[in-house]
Structure formats: C-alpha cells, structure tokens
Point group: C2
Chain length 698, copies 2
Amino acid sequence: MKPIAVMKSGRRKSVKATVLASLASLVLGSIHSPIARADEGMWLFNAVPKAQLKKNHNFEPTKEWLDHVMLSSVRFNSGGSASFVSSQGLVLTNHHVASDTLYKLSTPEHNYNEDGFLAASQADEIKTPDLELNQLISIEDVTEKVNASVKEGMTSQEASKARQATMGLIEKESLDAPGLRSDVVTLYGGGRYHLYRYKKYTDVRLVWAPEAGSAFFGGDADNFEYPRYCLDVTLFRVYENGKPAKIDHFLKMDPSGAKEQDLVFVSGNPGRTRRIFTHDAIEYQRDLAMPRTMNLLRRKEVLMQQYALAGPEQQRRSRDDLFGIQNSRKAITGMLSGLQDPEFTASKKREETELMSRLGQDPKLAPLTKAWQQIRDAQVKRREYLTKTATLRSQLYGIAEKLTLMAGEDRKASGDRYREFRDSNRESLQQELFSEAPIYEDLERMQLADELARLIDDRGGNDPLVVAALAGKSPKQRAAEIIAGTKLMQVAERKKLAEGGSGAIAESKDPMILLAKAMEPEYRKMHDVMDAIEEQERQAYAKVTEAKFAVGGDSVYPDATFTLRLAYGKVLGYETDGKKIPAWTTLGGAFEHESLHLTKDPWVLPKSWKEAKGKLKSDTPFNFVCTADIIGGNSGSPVVSKEGAMVGIIFDGNIESLTADFYYTEKVSRAVAVHIAGVLESLRTIYNAPHLAEEMGR
Amino acid sequence: MKPIAVMKSGRRKSVKATVLASLASLVLGSIHSPIARADEGMWLFNAVPKAQLKKNHNFEPTKEWLDHVMLSSVRFNSGGSASFVSSQGLVLTNHHVASDTLYKLSTPEHNYNEDGFLAASQADEIKTPDLELNQLISIEDVTEKVNASVKEGMTSQEASKARQATMGLIEKESLDAPGLRSDVVTLYGGGRYHLYRYKKYTDVRLVWAPEAGSAFFGGDADNFEYPRYCLDVTLFRVYENGKPAKIDHFLKMDPSGAKEQDLVFVSGNPGRTRRIFTHDAIEYQRDLAMPRTMNLLRRKEVLMQQYALAGPEQQRRSRDDLFGIQNSRKAITGMLSGLQDPEFTASKKREETELMSRLGQDPKLAPLTKAWQQIRDAQVKRREYLTKTATLRSQLYGIAEKLTLMAGEDRKASGDRYREFRDSNRESLQQELFSEAPIYEDLERMQLADELARLIDDRGGNDPLVVAALAGKSPKQRAAEIIAGTKLMQVAERKKLAEGGSGAIAESKDPMILLAKAMEPEYRKMHDVMDAIEEQERQAYAKVTEAKFAVGGDSVYPDATFTLRLAYGKVLGYETDGKKIPAWTTLGGAFEHESLHLTKDPWVLPKSWKEAKGKLKSDTPFNFVCTADIIGGNSGSPVVSKEGAMVGIIFDGNIESLTADFYYTEKVSRAVAVHIAGVLESLRTIYNAPHLAEEMGR
C-alpha cells in the first residue's frame, strides 16, 4: 500500500494511487529547513514539539493526552484518515475517503455514493469488500538494527537489498498476533527507522453516508476553494468476531468548540511531503515529473468524461474515478504553480548556497556537501527512465500483474521479496486480490486500450515491450480480445491461480496473465532501476539531514510518510484578493450558496436538505478553516481541542495550501474541516439518525 | 492563413488552427500510393480522373460541369468550405464553420451561437467582423518559373528562400485588382507549383443560423458518430459595394437527390493529408508529434472546462473554443489509432521495401532512394526541436507577435518576407489584426498564464526564453500584470502600432509588445530551423513523388493543401459491430434519437423543433453518408449530383474515416452530410423562413 500523494481520499485502484505512486514512488522521510514557521510541522507522536507549543500556544500535551489521541486515530489503509467516535466501534471519516467503498457497494439499482445510505439497524450495516483500518498502537526505534545490515563497500543496490531484508525480518518478528500489522517506516530520509505496530480491522461495515450532492456540494468547481459548505463525512463501524468491536479510546464530541483563534490539533496520516528536496530535485519535479503526471491525469480525465457521456449507468460507474482524477489534477496544478514561481526556486537556491558555505567552513561537515551532487546525479537517471514504465493501469491487469509477480516472489524467503509480497503484508494483499468489488467489462476494455496506447506514447511503437504487448493488434483490438478472453473477473479464478503458485502461473493461458508474464521481465528490471535510484537518494538525503541537523538545531520533523502525525494551528480566517474570508460557515449558508449559483449542478442541495430546511438550526457551524500543516492523506483526520475532544474533521485544503508538498506558508494557506456541530445537527435533523448523533462520543 | 488539420471548422484563433498549424506546419503536397482504391482521391479540378469515373461510374464530367461546380464553390479562409446557393449571394456553410463568427457577433444579451439568428429582412443581415471568402477562378501551372529560381549548389535554406521569393513575386505580379487574391500552391510535395487566383469577398453578412442544440444535436458524444441528426448549416450573404453580390455560378437545389447507390461529388477544400509520408515520418507522427498534440489538446480542454465552471457567461465565452478543442482531440485520437495499428505501419513498410527494390533495379532511378534517408534525417531534427516553440497561444499575444514581426518584416522587400507579411496577404492580415471581435480579459489572463506554464513544461524553467518571459514572476502573476497593462484590447491602439511600423514597436512600452519583442529572436530562429527542415523534406518528397510516378503510373492526386478539390463516391450504408447502418436518417428520427437519450443534454432538441413537430414532414431525409474521400477543411462542402445540383452539405466524417489523413478505406469509412431536403424543410417549417428556401437555387 502506498501513501497517497495529494489531498483527498485514495482509492486503491484510482489514477491517484497508481499513477502517482508508480511515477514518483519516492517515499522519502526527511526534515524541513531548520527555521520552521509558527504552526508548521507534521510531528511524530513520539517527538511532539512541546517547548514550541508551550511558547506559542501556552499548552503542553501530557503523555495521556497524546496516547488518547493516537489510539483514537484510525488510518484507512486505502489512503485516508479517520477516528473512533464511539465505544461501539463507530469510525468517522470523509465521504470522499469512503466513496471508493460506496462505489464498490453500489449496483445499477442502489447508488449509495450518489444517494447516500442509512442502516435501519445494526443488522443492516453493510459489510465492505476490502477495507483495512489500522490503529497505531506503538512506535519503536529500530534505526540501529536496520543500519547494521549495511556493510562497507556495498553498492547502492546491495545496501538497499540488505536494508529491505532486515526491515522485512523485523516486521516478521514483530507480527506475533493475527490481528496486528507491523511496518518499518523510513523517516528523515533514512536518518531514522521506526517500527510501527498497528491493530488491524478488516470487518468494516457501512453505517451512514449522506448524498454526494451534500458531501461534494459545489463539485470540482468548489474543490480546494473556500468558503465551503460540504457534509464530507461517512460513518463506518468496525466489527470483531461478528460483533461491534469494543473501543477503549474514542473521541468525545465538542459541538461548541473551534472558535476563532482557538488552538486545535489534527491527528492523521499525511501521505507525502517533499520539503527536504534539493534545488535539483525540485527542478526535476517542475520540469519533468509533474508535467508528465499532469499529462497523464488530463488524459484519464478526458477518457473518463468520454466514457460517462454514454449514459447514466456509465456516469455512475466512472464518477468516483473521475472525481479522484480531477481532484489530483487540481491539486497538482496548485503544487506545480508553487514550483513554477521563480521566487520559490530562487529562495531554495539561496538557502542551499548558504548551507553549503557553512558546511564548507567545517572540515568535518564539508564531505556532506557531496550529497547534493549525488541527488543531482539521481535526477539525471530519473530523467532517463521517466517514461520507461512497464505496467498498465487497469484493474484486471493489476490483478494479473500481482498474481504473476507473487508466483515469482513466493519462491524467495519473505525478507528477500518486494515489500508487498512479504508474509507481513499477505493478508492485506489477499484482501485486495480477492475483493468481490465489481469490475466493469466495458470500462476495463476502454482503460486497457488506452493504457496500451499510452505505452506506445511512452516507449514508441517499435519498443520490444510494446511490440510484445500488442501482439500485432491495435490497442483497441488487443484490449477487446484480452478482456473477452480473461477469466480474472471471477474471484474464484484468481484464488485458483494464487493457490497454484508459480506452476499455475506458468501453465496459465489466460490472456491477461500471458500479457503480465510478457511484461514481467521489464517490470522487474525497472523495479531494480528505481530501487537503486531511490537508495542513492536515500543515502544522500540522510547526509542532507545530518547537515541540516548540524547547522540548524532541533526544530525538526520528518517529511510525511502516510503514518500518524500531529499537526496544530489556530482556527483563523484570512484575506485574499482584498476580500476577508471568515473562519466559519453555517448550515444556513449552504442554502445561500446554492441560490447564488442559481441552483445549477454542482450547486444543488439534495432533497433531504430542502425538506429539513425549516427545522434546521441554520446558524450551526458547518465548515471552518485552521492553520494546521496538512496534506493529502490527512482527509478524514479528526480536529481535536486542547481538551482532547473532537471539534471537526479535515476534508480539504484551500488552493493556496497546495504548495504544502514542498513548503508551508500560513498567510493564506488553510486546512478545511467539517465542524462536528454541523455533523451532529444534520444527523439529527436532515438524516433522521438521532441515534447515531447520540452514540457519537459515548 | 493555414489550412486546418482536422475535420470541422477552423476558427482562426482556436487551438485547432494554432496548435496544429504551429506544431506541424508541414503543408506538403504529395501523391498517394499508385493503386488507388475505388472512390479514393481528392482531385485537382484541372486533373479530374475522367477515365476512372467513366469506368467505375459511367459518368464523364464536361468542362462546363467542372467550371460550374468550381465557380459555385466557396472557401472560408478561416478554415472551411461552402457554396453559392443563390444569384443574390447566399452562401451555405456549416454552423460549426460559422460558429467562430457567431461567437464573435454574440454578446451577453444575444447568444447567436446558442440561440440561432434570422434576419427579418436583408437590411437586418449582420456584417461579420473578419470573414474572408474565396472563390477560385483560375489555376495556372508555374512549376518551371518556381524551380528556375533554385540554382545548383544552394543549401536547403537558400533554396527555400529562393523559391519563397519567386512565389512571392509571382503572387504579387498576379495581383492586378484589389478584389483578387493569388496564392502559389505547392503540390505533389514540390513536384508542381500552381498559381491559384481567387475572387475575394470580405463584406459577408449573417442571414440565418439555427440553434446550436439542433446544429450540434448529440454534442461531443455524437460527434464523429453515425447515424446523425444535425442541422449543421448556416446561411451568409456576400455583398459588394454595400449591395448583395450578383453571382453567376450558384448551385440549384435537388431535394429528391442522394438516393442510396447514387454517385455524388464533393467540392471543397480538404485541409491537409499526409498520405505520401514515409514509414519514418509516420513513426515520428505516431511516437512524438501526435502524442504531444494530444497532450496539448487535453490540456486546453481541461482548462476551458474549468473556466466554464464559473458560470453561464463563462460557458458562453468558452463554448466555441471548447467545441473546437474537443473536436480536434476526438479527430486526432482517431488518426493516432490508425497509426498505432501495427498492420498499417507494416503494410507501409512492405510497400516501401518493394518500391525501393524496384528503384534499385534501374540505375537511373536508384539515386531516388536517398530521399528516404533524407526524410529520416529530417525526423531526427524535428525531434530535436519538437518542444522548442517560441510562441504563446493567446489572442492578445498573437496580435502583439504579428505586430512585432510585421515591423521587422516590412523593412524587407515583399518577396523576402515571411509569407503572411507579404503585400499579397496584407489585406487579409489587417482584417485579422483589426478585427472588432470581442476579447475577454479573464479568458485571456487564464490562457496567457497557462501558456507561460506550458512554456516552462516545454523548455524547462531555466531556459533563457522562459526566464525572460516570466521576468521573475510566476506564470499567473506575470499574466495578470501583462493583461492589466496592455492596451491591445483596443483596435485603435493596434492600428497606431501597425501604422507606426518598426519605430513605434521599438518605442512601445506596452507589456504585451515587450513580451513579444523579448521572444522575437528565438521565434525567428525557430522559424528558420523549421523552414530548413521543411525544405529538406520538400526536396525529398519531390523525389519520392518522382519515384512513385516512375514506378506506379498515372492514377495520382496530390495530398490536400486547403485548396479546392473534387472527391466522389456513392451514397452507401455500412455495417459495424454486426449492425447495419442505413445511409439515411430523417427529420422524424431526430425526435426518436432524443427520446432514446431521455432528452438529456446534449440530446435536447430546441423549442422551435418541438413547436413545429406536428407540421414537419417527418420522413424528409436529414443526414446521409457517402464514400467520398474527405478530411478536415471539407466541412461545408456542397455534395453535388451528376446533374450538378446540390443534394447535401458535408459536415463530418464517421470515426472510422479519421485515418484519412494517412490512408483511405471505404469499407466502413464514410463522409457525413446534411441532406438539402432537410435544410429546405426546416427553413420552411421550423424556422419561419420560407423566403430563404425559395431563394435557394434561384
């Protein structure tokens, strides 16, 4: 499972998860520039900046406070954040984090994503096909063990393998109970390795979701904007042994909280930041990697739009993916804008020049300056391989690829395998491979054809991999014949192949498996190439980290790694284009916002809202903004008061915050949350679910 | 003016015209492979394949027949075709050829593009801001004169300049009356040069246009599909000296024509085909040029969609461009699919190998084989410069660029200038530069910002041109400051700069002019580079032509060059995916098609249709298909019977016909036309314009 790279959800198969992950699968931990701005930082739970908090906000969290918030926090392994909100296992996350699941549960008859859902009783809560929720229960520093595996004189590739193997071993040893999950997390660009142990919940049931029209009110147009009026929430419940799980740590509700200027905390799993990136790495992102990603996203956006034109059912099938794609496209547009500002790159350069000069003055530190050259060299290699992908983004191809790779990997010891094929991840992998979520033949055919065409664009029509993949047919013909011939739509067939191992894969004549086998050698080659580049960068960034530590002192936090972090800030309005933007909106404001846009799509509130309008307390807080330092993956994070109670749930960042991948600012950048008062009032008054409002916090 | 590269219209400033023209401005004439398929060919009016017509269709057009059809044909200099349909100057073209003009005439109060228009009387016909219509009146072979200017030992660049200069001179000498236009057209890849003389109409007035909902019924979804139900027509009238022009040659109407299996002719201006392209040139298109164009189109598509989200006025402002972009994107997707079919490239390779081997057997012909290597070399150079554009696609920047270049060019003799700045083109250029058509500040700001960002994508943020263009600002900031500061919105300011010549440009502090001046040196450098590559290809393709002539014999027609051609074929249904598609649809079928799509956008017929439904003769033919060989630029071409009467008007090709850029097939490829009976019936019954139906053909 890869952390997601941009704000919002993370459907496992979406372009967001796959394109971004495979194109830029750097999962660097790192530290930011030494002088952090006031409320900057995504802090480790075992290294919270207490002194800074005390100084700036006159508040010092106790160990109990931190433990309680940590244990109340939940990670959606598919790419989002959440929290426990009742002793009976209720989990609150964003609708857009849930939408992947809502989409999988939907049928042509019941469109839960569009129309919402409410379980009449606990017995009616619907089991989801493949969700895995993680609760972080402990953090242990294993840096020495991991580093001990790297011996002098090893090449980058050997060092990478040795580290990977040790990390696999540590994870395996730690896995002493079936409901647990252990991950060794690379932090500070390889400066630290921490073992994260999670309690894992895989029986997750849908309790309530509002209509998409309310959750995503204002649609793509309002996305990343503020003021907002979105009920972007959904409730799940975790079960154990067929019964609602008993939860010791869950958040109390504080509907009167999050007043202007209040200090608030955000506890969630930011996906990835790249604040340690050197000037050269930034340039590579600006000039090559991100423009390429943008082209891919726009390609998929237009493709899905075309597909949706065919009719309402196609619109339903594509809506979730299309939203994910548009969301990523808008997010990366914002990030790229940040990088394209010559002022930012110039300041990065100045900072570096100054740091270099200070390192140069100290003979012990001077050798560290080589790291920048190593990173520059790595960018040259990245450039060489940028378009040399050897995978295809289609659900069925993804399954075929995993089955094929697994057959090969399983012949090795667990620690020597690619990470996702190790024993410690097998349960998660199987949940994904054997998911009963629907796969649509027409959509798959179109996507596979487009991916084969994309492969030609990337590698040229004469490339041996392309020639092998096409087998003499046009992309469209080839996709049609493969989709018509494959049996991978059936979960039973996937299970048979998985159980049959390398023998079954070797013998399989399934055309999708044959395609994956044809592409496997190149996939493995590219995997090794990228591993070596990342190891080279990892080693270099570890030195950069050391240099920054040495010169800058102690106010350091690692780059985001889709693991639990604590951010904090003030509830605070801002000014843009000369306009004052208030910190809060209200439920009543949603109706005004609708009128202002002539009640035209996407500004149409659902029927349920219109019917409840008279009864609704219209001055109830609905959405609000704060200065906490967040990024994609934080979607669904609880916003917590000093008292440790829930006051809101993060669902977006404004457009000015999108540079957060590379740098934090707090003048106009804001995190956007749904206020918990708005959630409770709408549950009671709009959605006829006062019992859920009652249960929350108890 | 550049011919357009894809099916449909050609708005002067659209991505279609500019992106495609500047990225692939090859205007090669050439010949196709010797053995033409039955109804293949876009024939010169002075070289119609009479024997073949006689043999296949038992029909031999007379000189009178050909002259009449030629003189009845009209070219929209902005990128489409049309015909004279009355003695009083009525001109019939497609709504989508007219839409650029409809858009320019529209205001927030009157949206003629969306809502249609009918002049109550001749006095109410609206003058269009910048249309130029051309009627071809003579063709003269000037090959010897042009070739005589190239001396032995000249470099490619020198040869190109010498040819250009001679062509300029010939055009200038030919220009003996103000209402005329003369163009030397390069045919057969430089095998022939013909002087085309046109009568030029610049007082063009809008008479009638239906609603976009009827003209483009089915929208982007139905575009390039069949069966269709589109009233894609618009009527203009040409004026001379303030009165309707007297037209000697115009088409009679035959509403009972175009029966299944009938022979029909299409007389129009196909924009560009590339059927002579060698295997290497095809590969370059498949792997580099067309994928890049697709990325640009998708970029602009998403950008315009985002802009349109802001509200109905933004939707109106962007609709025309967005349609043009989507149209091109769909067209190029089809073309690229054709190139990505390994069978096509393999057959092209086989053909070439065979031709080479036959050339090799004849010592006199053997040297011609070097041409293929020269073309291969040219593709390597194209690759090197593919992303090195030095222009920005914004209306105001385009004006600044032209003013700046003109100031420099006008210091040279007319024949030495870039073609569009020669005296012979001055009137057309001024019409474009001084157009009163509205330019929207918000749209311009967004497009300029996007183009500056695109320049970074193309050249990298450290490129000197990029650094100069940005002047230390982000693309967004820079675009905002330039649009706020420029006075080029005002036509008077443009005129002042144009009249002031190089002195005025040198002194100008207008920020858009300053930007154009900063980019001018690189623009000129790239212009020279592309000229040299094109000349190298021109010389090589002339040899390829010679080789094909020598080996293959006489059934030859040149590649399309946005000049008048005659195509022919049968009215004929076809079969696809096992379904029989009939040749015709009817007016009544439009209502059924609407019901089938639940009357949802874009399948909503206008109110006028619903009101007229009862009176309408529902079995009137509406749209039909034929096998004639057409391509973009043919939009609006009259479909003419053996008797020389009008039976329809071309408006599209089905998706299977999109390979026509590179090769013709007739199994399922079809040209799509509006039947003239449908036009006349709807004028009478739906649009309350029986007087126009009466005037047509008289």
